[in-house]
Structure formats: structure tokens, C-alpha cells
Amino acid sequence: MIDIAGLVKTFGHVSALDGLDLTVAKGEVHGFLGPNGAGKSTTIRVLLGLLRKDDGEVRLFGGDPWRDAARLHGRLAYVPGDVNLWPNLTGGEVIDLLGRLRGGLDERRRADLLQRFDLDPAKKGRSYSKGNRQKVALIAALASDVDLLVLDEPTSGLDPLMESVFRECIDEFRSEGHTVLLSSHILAEVERLCDRVSIIRSGACVESGTLADLRHLTRTSVTADLASAPVGLDALPGVHDLEIDNHRVHLEVDTTALDAVLDALQAAGVRSLTSQPPTLEDLFLRHYGDRIDGEEDGRR
């Protein structure tokens, strides 16, 4: 559905995208993960033909998103992170307008979504809160008959209840064989919804794969109370941040070395053990931790 290779986009002297790669296959929910300013929105805008690429290859449904923008857009729906509505149009009017421009709305789904998202369609754009503006764009997107949803941080502003409605809707959309590109910096959301993830940082993709793929690259955090002091842990390859406080041990371990660590712990006699699977927070810290440190250093 989406094929991006070596995409470059600069604004004046500022380089927003620097050789970005991204591939989204049909039928998957693809998480597009990165901190603010990493280039997620710029990528999406190039993909939608709003911005012109400076270099690289971008294909959307096999076509050129700049040249064939309008034709390709008939097959997708887009929800920006910051939805701005016309102050004097009602939410219902905007939903109809966007739906018609996309080539038609499913009336039944429109009514159903209005109810599920609990949106009053008769209010004017200027009187909606941020969350409600987001709902208007989401309903317009979900009620359209499209193959691909492009969502740029779609839940910012939604309350937890509405977030769960949103997740249901995405699951239903996927179960119909459709595709979603979901940009986010909310890890739990991506973890819950996505089949595959691409992590981008400073305009380039640093890692891409299924959650399982990426998880095996990360470490597990292990805390244990032992019967006696453990032996040889510090000599094991793949063990990091080892802390031994008498009989209590805390360490981070690469997934490949987990077996050897458990053997060593068992040898010392395990009284209690907690191990946490890596969350996407951990993924992030691994990829961006150095940058955050660097920034702080720079500030000092």
C-alpha cells in the first residue's frame, strides 16, 4: 500500500526528512512511532501529496502521491493530529462534506459512529472542544468507504472511554482487510493496536518490524531475592546494569542471554523473582535516551 524509500524533504536549511524508509503492507495496522519533531507529520504530508518530496521514492497504492493525488485520495481517509474545523459549519455538515468529497458515506455507519462517539452533530465548529473536533474527523474517516486510513496522532484530546471506542473501530476496520497507518507517540496505543512498527528519529527510520521482532532486540528487566549471593553474573555476556545488594539482585538482560541468567540465579536459590517484558517505553529509551541526555548536556 505504501512504499517509501530514501525520502528527503528540507524546508529552507532545515532538513525534516533525511533518507526515510517506510513500507506498509495491505491488511496491517502499522504504527509510526517517534517523538515530536521526528518527521512523522511531514512524511504523512508528503504521502498525501500536500508537500513535494525533494528526493527519494514514494509510492501510494502503486501511484505517485504528488501527481495522482486526487485519484489516490479516493481510496484513503486522513485524520490530522490537530483538527481545525470551519467555525460556522456544524460537525454534521463537515462529516457529510468530507464524506462526499471522498466519494460517499455509509449512512448506517455514520449514524452508528455518531452514537458510539457520542457526538452532537448540530453544534457549530467553533463551539467544539479539541476532542470533539477530533471525533468529527474520525467519524468522517471511518464512515467513508476506503481501503487505507492515515491517522496522525488521532487520539490526542480523546478521553479514555472514547479511546477505547476508537480502538474497537480500528479493530473492526482491520478485520475487514483494510490497512491503517497510525502515527503516534503514545506507546500503549501502538502496542495495543499495531501489527508492525516503524520507529523514526530525526527524519530517518531507525527500526522497523513486528512488535515481536523489536522486542527480541530489547532487554528484560529482572529483580530477584536469592537464598545466597549469586556467582558469576557479572561475567555473563548480555547482562547490563547489574546491582547486587546482599541477596537482592537487579539486572537488565538481553533476551538472548536470559537462559544463562536464570541458570545462575537458580544456582543461588530463588526466593522471589519479577521480570518485566520490555514495553515500548523501553524501546524508546533505547533509541532516544542518548539524544535526551545529549540535549540536557547541551543545555548545561
Binding site: 500536500l50 485520495h73 486522513y78 455538515e93 462526499r100 468529497l101 467553533r126
Partner: protein, 523 residues
């Protein structure tokens, strides 16, 4: 009231440009009337004759106010400026109060403030003080300008002080409006309606039942009779009006919830109408309110201008300045006057054309275009919808301005053929107006950030029209104004060549702008 002064200081900083432009603009309005009257009439006899003509013209009285001492400079200044000055201070007060009260509440910024240790009434008190101070500055600058121009000091001060008092009473109106409605737009609409009603009441009162004028703050201001036996007591009415409306504003504020109004927010349609589903349908929907406002404005403008009929010779006087201004060379003075009016109305219509051509830029700035262009709507179609509204709207406002001018001219003079003739004459200026719109379109396509420069082109055209001959500006500079190339109908016979060339230039600019837009990044 804790924090009022801190807030007032912040407001004043935000309003610093308003504190420059409103007082200077309003003072220029007043003083320039004196300047133009003194330049217009060479002798007192001529002045008396013109004044006699004005005193009997009900349309002019309805437009300006009661005719008093019109054969004096001070009387003319009062007559020609007071009603419009009152409207201007009303608008200024409305904007200052609105932006610091309802607008802050609507956007939610006010919540931040209310959570801070400031009194509940601090923000609105600071807004009222801010508007009060601005009106004081307007009065001071205007009064100083009139005295410096050489008019009688006591009456000058009376005229200026009345203006301040009038502004104060509209400050109270704006405060009440901001409490009643939930949106800033509606608050402006309500306060604007009160200002408009005040103007209309005194217009009716001045030509028929004087009692009506006594129901209007603008009527009270004019009842102070500056330069024709100044009296201060009607000023007390203005002061009382200000006090009462401000008190009502506070009372309503105390009885309503944060974020709400007293008048319910009107719900709109839950479904879009059939026409709202294309680029053109959307452009029409977004621009139709503005188009309607401009259309009514230009129709009224045309009607007002036409009431002068054929008495132009007396009104204009015989001095060289006025001959230069009106005749732009030679010819019949009535024809010259109307040729000038037609170009002026066309320039007002250009105000619509430029703002309409810049509307897509406003949409882009507000971030509302992304979502649209991510649908199957092509960029070119989206923009073409706005272009169609600009062109059709421009022709509409020109026709209405011409029809208005012709209709009231025909009513005053009995020359029924004027309606069709003047309508066509205004319509024939369309190419020049559309050149300005095309220029705006090109700027939006090429240099979206500099697009507001399009207004400079209108300003330049206006300067060339008014001062071109007067100041003997170089020919190449005058040629920059598209209006200079059109035949000055009805003084000169209509010429097709400049008409067609300008039409081609307008089309070329517009197309170039649309192509440039198609090729650039959209934000």
C-alpha cells in the same frame, strides 16, 4: 479586583497598535473634513450657497446628522464627522472589550487566568478600563488636532469629549453583549447591531420625528451642538448610558456560568445541504456571508452617493483644488463628479475582490485545507471554486453598486435611464477590479506569506486616484493603477482596448496564481 492593574498592563501591551491607529485614524477623519471644506470653497458666498443646498437635502441629513451651521468650517466638521466618528469609537470599544472578555473565554485562555490569584471581575474590569482609556486617547488626539487646526477651542473640546463619552456608552453595550452570547462573533454581531440601530434611529429622527434621535447615543452626541451653541448636558445622557450598561454587564456576569452566555448557542443543521459537497459548494458556503455584507454595503453606498443628484456644482464649489480633484482635466462637472464616484465605488468593490481572493490563504493559514486536499478533491478544483466565487461576487457587487447609484440618482433627478446606464458603467470597471484580485491570487500562489501585500495595490490605486493630478505624481507611477487605464466614463467615451487588455491581464494573473499554487507545498 486583585490583579486588575496587572491585567490592564498586559492588555495595553496587546492593544498597543490599536492605541496608535484608532486615535490617529479618527482624528484624521475629523481634521481632514476641515481641511477639505476650507479647500473647497473660495468665498463665503459660495460656501453659503453650498450649505443652503445641503440643508435641504434630506438624504444627506439622514446620512450625516442634523444640519446646523453648515456654512462654517466647525459646523461642517461636526456634521460630516460626528456620526461616523461615533460609529468608529463604537467599533473600537466593541473590539477591545470583545477580545479581552468573550474571546478569551471562548478560546479557554481565560481559564488559565481565573485559576491564578486574580479577582473574578479583574479581567472584565481591566477590559472596561482599557476601552475607556482608548476612548480617552481618541478624544484627546482628536481635540488636540481640531484645536491645532485652528478651530474654536471650547467647541473642539466639546466635539472631542462627546466622542469619548459616546465611546464609553458603546463600551458598556459591548460588555453586555459579551455576557449575553457564547461566541465572540455573536457578541460582535449583537454590539454591531446596537451601533447600527443607533445610527438608523438618529437618521430617521433627523429627517422626521426628532424623538427618535433622542433614543440613540449617536443622537445624544450630536445633540451637544458643537460649533453651533455647544451644550454639555446631553453628554450626561451618554455618561449615564455608559454607567448603566456597564452595571448591567457586571450583573449579568455574576448570574451566569463560566463559558456560557444568556442567549443559547443556536444549533445548526445536523446534515449538510445537497450543494455542500464540491469545491465550489464549499467556497460559496464559506464566502456567502461576506459577499452578502459587501453587496449590501455597496448597494447602500451607491444609493447614498446618488442622492446628490445634479446639485454637484454647488456642493463642489469653484476652487482650483476641487476642480482638480473632481474633473481630472476638463469636462462637465456633473459628469466628472460621477466618473469619480464610479471609480471610487469600483475601488470599494475591489475591497471585496481582494479579500475574497485572499480567502483561500486564510483557509490555509487556519489549517483547514489539509483535510480537504487529503480527499479526492483536487487542489486545482478546490481553488477554482474560490476563484469562481471571487469573479461572480465581484460582478455582483459592481452591479449592485451601480444599480444603487443609478436608482437614487434617478429618483432625485427624474432621469430614469440612469439606472441602466450607471449599472453598466460600474460593470465596465470589472477588469480593473479583477486585476487587483488576480494580483492577490498570484501572491497567494507564489508568496503566500506576503499575500497581504495585495492590499497595497488597492491603496496605491486610491492614492493615484485622489492625489495623482493634485500632486502631479509621475506618469509611470500613475500607470501602476489599473483604474488609470480605463476610460473615465461618463466624461470620456468608453474604450474597448483598455477594457479587453485589463481583462486579459486579470485572467493571466489569476491563472498564473492558480498554477503556482498547484506546484507548491500546502501548509
Amino acid at each position: 479586583m486583585t490583579g486588575t492593574l496587572v491585567l490592564l498592563r498586559a492588555f495595553l501591551r496587546r492593544d498597543r497598535w490599536m492605541y496608535l491607529w484608532w486615535p490617529v485614524g479618527i482624528a484624521i477623519l475629523y481634521v481632514s473634513q476641515g481641511w477639505s471644506v476650507d479647500g473647497l470653497y473660495a468665498t463665503q458666498a459660495e460656501f453659503d450657497k453650498a450649505a443652503a443646498g445641503m440643508e435641504n437635502n434630506a438624504a444627506l441629513i439622514a446620512m450625516a446628522g442634523p444640519a446646523r451651521a453648515l456654512n462654517t468650517t466647525g459646523g461642517q466638521v461636526t456634521w460630516q464627522s460626528a456620526a461616523f466618528g461615533a460609529i468608529l469609537v463604537g467599533l473600537m470599544s466593541m473590539f477591545i472589550v470583545g477580545r479581552h472578555t468573550r474571546a478569551e473565554e471562548e478560546t479557554g485562555r481565560d481559564e488559565l487566568l481565573r485559576a491564578a490569584p486574580v479577582g473574578r471581575h479583574a479581567a472584565m474590569t481591566a477590559a472596561v478600563l482599557d476601552a475607556g482609556l482608548a476612548n480617552l486617547v481618541v478624544g484627546a488626539v482628536t481635540g488636540a488636532g481640531l484645536v491645532a487646526y485652528g478651530l474654536a477651542p471650547a467647541d473642539s473640546i466639546g466635539l472631542a469629549a462627546g466622542l469619548t463619552l459616546c465611546g464609553w456608552s458603546f463600551t458598556g453595550t459591548a460588555l453586555v453583549a459579551a455576557q449575553l452570547t457564547t461566541s465572540t462573533r455573536a457578541a460582535y454581531g449583537l454590539a454591531g447591531a446596537v451601533i447600527g440601530l443607533s445610527y438608523a434611529l438618529r437618521a430617521l429622527g433627523d429627517i422626521s420625528a426628532a424623538a427618535l434621535s433622542w433614543m440613540s447615543p449617536i443622537g445624544w452626541y450630536q445633540a451637544m451642538h458643537a460649533f453651533s451653541g455647544l451644550r454639555w448636558w446631553p453628554g450626561l445622557l451618554l455618561l449615564a448610558g455608559a454607567g448603566i450598561t456597564v452595571a448591567v454587564g457586571y450583573a449579568v456576569f455574576d448570574r451566569r456560568d463560566f463559558g456560557s452566555g444568556v442567549l443559547p448557542a443556536r444549533p445548526g443543521p445536523a446534515r449538510a445541504s445537497r450543494s455542500l459537497g464540491t469545491g465550489l459548494g464549499l467556497a460559496w458556503r464559506l464566502q456567502r456571508a461576506a459577499l452578502a455584507a459587501w453587496a449590501v454595503g455597496l448597494l447602500l453606498g451607491g444609493l447614498a452617493f446618488g442622492t446628490m443628484g445634479d446639485d454637484v456644482g454647488d456642493l463642489v464649489g469653484d476652487s482650483q483644488t476641487s476642480r482638480d480633484l473632481v474633473l481630472q482635466g476638463s469636462g462637465d462637472i456633473v459628469d466628472g463628479f460621477y466618473a469619480m464616484l464610479i471609480v471610487m465605488l469600483a475601488m470599494l468593490a475591489a475591497g471585496f475582490a481582494i479579500s475574497s481572493a485572499l480567502r483561500p490563504r486564510g483557509e490555509e493559514d487556519a489549517g483547514r485545507v489539509e483535510v480537504l486536499l487529503a480527499t479526492a478533491l483536487p487542489r486545482s478544483t478546490w481553488l477554482a471554486g474560490h476563484v469562481a466565487v471571487t469573479v461572480a461576487g465581484t460582478l455582483t457587487v459592481l452591479v449592485l453598486a451601480g444599480a444603487g447609484l443609478g436608482t437614487s440618482y434617478a429618483l432625485v433627478t427624474g432621469d430614469g435611464s440612469a439606472v441602466a446606464r450607471m449599472t453598466v458603467e460600474l460593470l465596465m470597471t470589472a477588469p480593473a477590479v479583477l486585476v487587483l484580485a488576480g494580483f492577490a491570487r498570484l501572491l497567494h500562489g507564489l508568496l503566500p506569506r506576503a499575500a497581504l501585500l495585495a492590499w497595497l495595490a488597492l491603496l496605491l490605486s486610491y492614492v493615484v486616484l485622489i492625489f495623482g493630478e493634485l500632486l502631479d505624481l509621475p506618469q509611470w507611477f500613475q500607470d501602476l493603477s489599473p483604474f488609470e487605464h480605463l476610460a473615465l466614463v461618463p466624461v470620456e467615451p468608453f474604450r474597448w482596448t483598455p477594457f479587453l487588455v485589463l481583462a486579459a491581464v486579470a485572467a493571466a494573473l489569476s491563472v498564473a496564481g492558480q498554477i503556482a499554487f498547484r506546484r507548491r507545498d500546502v501548509h
